[in-house]
């Protein structure tokens, strides 16, 4: 049989909705793994909006330094940003009943403030300013004479100007600026700042104050000055809001005014990850135009920044340009710029990402040849494997808990393994298959599915006992394979789907490499699942499916009897029925179920050829046909690991259905041959009886003992009064 090409592992994954053995969840294709990595923050494709609180974390860190508190950043954040002024006033008051303050009792920073009146006072001034600003910014605000809101802001300004200390100088300056802005005293904002700026230390609060100075300039009409200061302050939202109707795109603007700010990089990162997400979303027939435009803008600005070389992270920009080129299908350009990224100033982190991109682009771009794997890709595969090993600790827990699920659904979770799978399953293996090298495709798919699991060697499962107590059971990979109640990995992962659907001869050649590996195969096999019993069972099963019974017997005889209990089909009770009768009859013993069947079929096949007596031969043909028939029907577990067709013909287009159709054609021919070979009517009647054609027996062969038996057992064989059943399956029951 000409072997069928396994065109794409991902394609198979999508078309095999198997039951029983393979309950796979196919969320993504291997080429969908998120690859753009510049911060490592969005590697699962979760892109979120930046935190609204401008420089909140840095501010809390400064509080920590300034007060020497041992409170956590979260505790500081709670007090500084979430606790009302009245509450702070309460627990910092000397006579307060501290037990009444939940914040004080639960928050270490609150306790710090109680013992640090200067800090507490400063924070109260900030809260008063914030409250007044909230009032003045409310749509309901209207100025009044003796306006309490204005009074509060005046007091804040007074307190700020009166502070002569150094510890909170920038904090008071910030509050003064905020108050002056709210009162629209823009000139004073600027003159005050000019007066104090040189005396202030450079900290995050000084940067925060700069925003208000920028705002003052904006309100006074000096837009360029405002933009420059917004850029220095890293206030990108305010900066971009000054560019209404500007023809330049946001990236150009940020590069001009805030080239070193993290916001520019954050924005690029989010937009690229979003574009990756869009490109992989199968609901989009075309990439949305705005995504295409954004990517073009990112590409152009990235190359410009990289070539101008004014920033410290030139490699980031070459890498980003390369990535856009890759998304647009220009792998050669991607490789070129990825290589430039690896040589440009920047960080090892980005260089690694660029190297990965280069590998993947090369895998896609390089045409297949006999040297494709050994000369082009092997070193890169080894490099990725080393990265998996050296970063293994970050993936141990997730792999143990959900690694199998993540890998079967190609969900991004551990960058290095994700990239190995993306390269192998998304690019290399499909290319090998198209080029006819299915053995190496099998080998690399095996490695992609099993390498990480073997390295971690810990599968954890939730176990619920009789009293509904839940515990976590840890098993090694081998224990999982031997003892789990259902092996949800080895019979439903990408490797199995390939192994089960390639031509059996390819699988045989692959398994032969376990003992006699060629150079690269040794490396790959050491990182794969190579248990002989497993493969012998799969090959034997595929041989049965292909009606190659003698070979099936040879392979299945290499499978220890104990292995059968590890099969999901055995655990679910599909290896119990007698395959040589059309009745639903259980065997007394199902030991070596597949081997027994293979033996019997091989024997029948041999004996049919030798048998001279036509009636004996006919009976053997009928038995052989029945065995063959049942092997793809009620005893389907002889030839498949899951069932994907149904009596109502749904699933009729699947791989299994196509294989089944071939067998059933042969079965029909064999039954016809049996009936035409038999000479004796008793033999014919027996064959027809076993097929359930009772009416035909009674009408066509009424003189036979078989017909007499049928007529004499009308209650049991009542169907002989009825039309021939549409299915050959008899309604006889034991």
């Amino acid at each position: 049989m000409r072997s069928k090409a396994f065109l794409a592992i991902s394609l198979i994954a999508l078309i095999l909705p198997v039951s029983a053995a393979a309950c796979g969840f196919y969320g993504f294709l291997p080429e969908d793994y998120y690859m753009y990595r510049v911060s490592g923050n969005y590697m699962k494709g979760h892109f979120s909006q930046p935190r609204f609180n401008y420089m909140g974390d840095e501010n809390c860190l400064l509080w920590k330094q300034q007060t020497g508190t041992d409170a956590t950043i979260d505790e500081i954040y709670q007090v500084v940003y979430k606790t009302p002024a009245q509450e702070i006033e309460f627990f910092t008051s000397p006579k307060a009943n501290l037990m009444m303050s939940k914040v004080y009792m639960q928050n270490a920073f609150a306790r710090t403030l109680r013992n640090d009146p200067e800090a507490a006072t400063m924070l109260m001034v900030a809260k008063v300013c914030e409250s007044a600003r909230k009032g003045i910014n409310s749509p309901w605000y209207y100025p009044a004479y003796r306006d309490p809101v204005v009074s509060k802001l005046e007091k804040v300004i007074e307190a700020g100007k009166a502070y002569k200390g150094e510890r909170f100088a920038t904090r008071y300056a910030l509050q003064v600026e905020r108050a002056l802005m709210s009162l629209q005293r823009y000139d004073e904002c600027i003159s005050y700042w000019d007066e104090v700026v040189s005396k202030l230390p450079d900290d995050v609060v000084k940067t925060m104050a700069l925003r208000y100075v920028a705002g003052a300039w904006y309100n006074l009409g000096d837009i360029e000055k405002a933009r420059k200061l917004f850029g220095e302050a890293g206030d990108i939202d305010s900066l971009t809001s000054t560019f209404v109707n500007d023809e330049r795109n946001i990236y150009e603007i940020l590069y001009e005014y805030a080239p070193d700010e993290q916001e520019l990089r954050d924005l690029v990162e989010r937009d690229i990850i979003y574009a990756e997400h869009q490109y992989f979303d199968l609901s989009f027939e075309e990439h949305p135009q705005w995504v295409v435009k954004d990517l073009q803008n990112i590409h152009d600005i990235s190359l410009r920044i990289a070539k101008e070389g004014k920033v410290k992270d030139v490699d980031f920009w070459y890498y980003t340009a390369a990535f856009v080129e890759h998304l647009n299908g220009d792998q050669k350009a991607a490789m070129k710029n990825a290589a430039l990224a690896e040589k440009a100033p920047g960080s090892d982190f980005i260089k690694e990402s660029a190297h990965v991109l280069g590998i993947y682009a090369k895998a896609i771009d390089t045409p297949y040849s006999s040297k494709y794997l050994s000369k082009t890709m092997m070193n890169d595969i080894k490099w990725l494997d080393e990265k998996i090993v050296s970063n293994l600790d970050e993936a141990r827990e997730a792999t143990s808990e959900n690694g199998i699920f993540y890998m079967k659904s190609n969900m991004s979770y551990f960058y290095w393994n994700d990239m190995l799978r993306k390269v192998l399953l998304g690019a290399v293996c499909p290319k090998l298959i198209k080029g006819g090298d299915r053995v190496n495709a099998l080998a690399l798919t095996n490695m992609a599915d099993n390498r990480l699991l073997a390295l971690v060697n810990d599968i954890s499962e939730f176990v619920v006992d009789e009293e509904w107590n839940v515990s976590i059971l840890h098993r090694t990979l081998d224990e999982f394979r031997r003892k789990s109640s259902f092996n949800y990995n080895d019979y439903s992962n990408a490797f199995f789907q390939m192994a089960d659907t390639v031509a059996v001869d390819d699988l045989v050649k692959y398994v032969a490499s376990f003992d006699k590996p060629k150079k690269d195969q040794k490396y790959i096999n050491e990182r794969s699942y190579t248990e002989k019993a497993f493969f012998a069972d799969v090959i034997g099963t595929k041989m049965l499916r292909d009606m190659r019974y003698a070979e099936a017997e040879k392979w299945l005889s290499q499978v220890p009897s104990s292995f059968q209990s590890r099969l999901n089909v055995d655990k679910e009770g599909y290896l119990k029925l007698d395959p040589f009768t059309l009745r639903w009859k259980k065997l007394d013993s199902n030991a070596d179920y597949k081997l027994s069947f293979a033996r019997e079929m091989a024997s029948l096949e041999k004996n049919i050829k030798k048998e001279k007596d036509p009636d004996m031969k006919a009976m053997m043909l009928a038995r052989f046909a029945t065995g063959m028939r049942n092997s793809v029907d009620k005893s389907w577990a002889l030839t498949f690991y899951g069932k994907s067709w149904w009596d109502d013909e749904s699933g009729s287009g699947t791989f299994q259905a196509r294989k089944r159709a071939v067998v059933l054609d042969k079965v029909q021919s064999l039954y016809g041959q049996a009936l035409s070979t038999a000479r004796d009517n008793e033999a014919k009647a027996t064959i027809l009886r076993d097929l359930g054609n009772l009416k035909t027996v009674v009408t066509e062969y009424p003189e036979t003992q078989v017909a007499a038996f049928i007529r004499g057992h009308c209650d049991t064989y009542a169907d002989y009064h009825m039309e021939r059943p549409s299915s050959y399956r008899s309604i006889l029951r034991d």
């Binding site: 749509p139 309901w140 605000y141 209207y142 100025p143 009044a144 004479y145 306006d147």
Partner: protein
């Protein structure tokens, strides 16, 4: 003292004297609504106040609405259309801050004390900041319906409670169709004798005031409403623009004398004959326009019905609204008849 100053002082005395002190302690005097977003009286309007002894000016301060958008039903109330004070407030005229509450706003108000506080604080700040003099009355205008009545009434109750502490009374506008319902918890009301008809309907003759629309609520009745009422009369007009028999928009100007653009039919309906732009609308040939300006006769007719329905009600008469263009359509005698008892 200059001669003009003597005259102004005399006018102020006359104005103050024009409001009688009823037994209730509140002056009954002529009033007028001012409903523009920029407060600036021209000489005609100033003269009107003086000549007609108008002692009280109901000045729309702002509307209470919600922010536009798909989530309007979840948003908070906001003040919109706040009046700007671009001219002096005439001396001797009591200002009554008036706030219109939209139906949308009435639907979303959940926290009554909070909403009251916001509205009241803003009103008083505006009055204080713009030196409007002592405020003795505040008015809420809301065309409440069954679904929004409870909210509006709760708002009135809370506001009245707070205003009482300041010695300020609370009034509310009342529509004719609300006379059958319990009065809101306010100190007094202004019965609006305008917008009595359906302006969208092609068969309406005059949606601003039509005796036939008002009669069912007043004729043959003696009404005791529950709160003292003043009465407000329309002196404005507008034009209802229709296309293909359907309401299109209200046009606030009423001059359609240009014969190159319009043709008036025997039924008084105007037909557009030439396409042109007007008040931001594109009028096309075939469009029809119904000009509605209530006549003094109609107003006085309805006034008679009101007199019969409220025979012993001490009240003020209020004109809606102060606008020199609108007022020019009435002569002095007609105005005095409308404002008189």
């Amino acid at each position: 003292m200059k001669f003009s100053g003597v005259i102004s002082a005399l006018a102020a005395v006359l104005l103050l004297a024009s409001c009688k002190e009823p037994a209730t302690g509140r002056r009954d005097c002529n009033g007028v609504y001012y409903w523009k977003t920029s407060f600036a009286l021209d000489s005609t309007e100033t003269a009107f106040l003086r000549d007609n002894e108008v002692g009280r000016l109901y000045l729309r301060f702002f509307d209470v609405d919600v922010e536009d958008g798909p989530m309007a039903h979840l948003s908070d109330i906001v003040p919109v259309g706040t009046v700007t004070f671009d001219g002096p407030v005439p001396e001797g005229v009591e200002i009554v801050p008036t706030v219109f509450i939209t139906e949308r706003a009435a639907r979303v108000i959940r926290d009554i004390p909070d909403a009251t506080d916001k509205i009241l604080t803003r009103i008083l700040n505006m009055a204080d900041y713009n030196r409007l003099g002592a405020i003795s009355e505040i008015q809420l205008d809301c065309d409440w319906a069954e679904s929004t009545r409870d909210t509006f009434f709760a708002l009135c109750a809370e506001m009245r409670k707070q205003l009482k502490e300041k010695g300020i009374i609370l009034s509310a506008t009342i529509r004719l169709h609300q006379l059958d319902s319990p009065a809101p918890p306010v100190d007094r009301g202004v019965l609006m004798l305008y917008n009595t008809g359906n302006f969208r309907s092609p068969s309406t003759k005059n949606s601003i005031l039509d005796t036939r629309d008002a009669a069912p609520f007043l004729k043959g009745k003696r009404i005791r409403y529950g709160i003292p009422l003043d009465f407000a009369w329309p002196v404005y007009g507008w034009a209802i623009w229709m296309r293909d028999g359907q309401f299109a928009a209200i046009i606030h100007s009423t001059d359609f004398s240009d014969s190159t653009l319009y043709q008036t039919g025997s039924d008084g309906i105007i037909t557009v004959i030439t396409e042109h732009e007007r008040d931001g609308h594109t009028l096309k040939p075939g469009d029809r326009i119904r000009v509605e300006i209530p006549s003094a006769a109609t107003i006085l007719e309805v006034k008679e019905l009101v007199r019969s329905a409220f025979p012993d009600e001490p009240h003020s008469n209020i004109i809606y609204h102060l606008d020199s263009t609108s007022l020019s359509k009435f002569n002095d005698h007609e105005i005095k008849s409308i404002l008189g008892d």
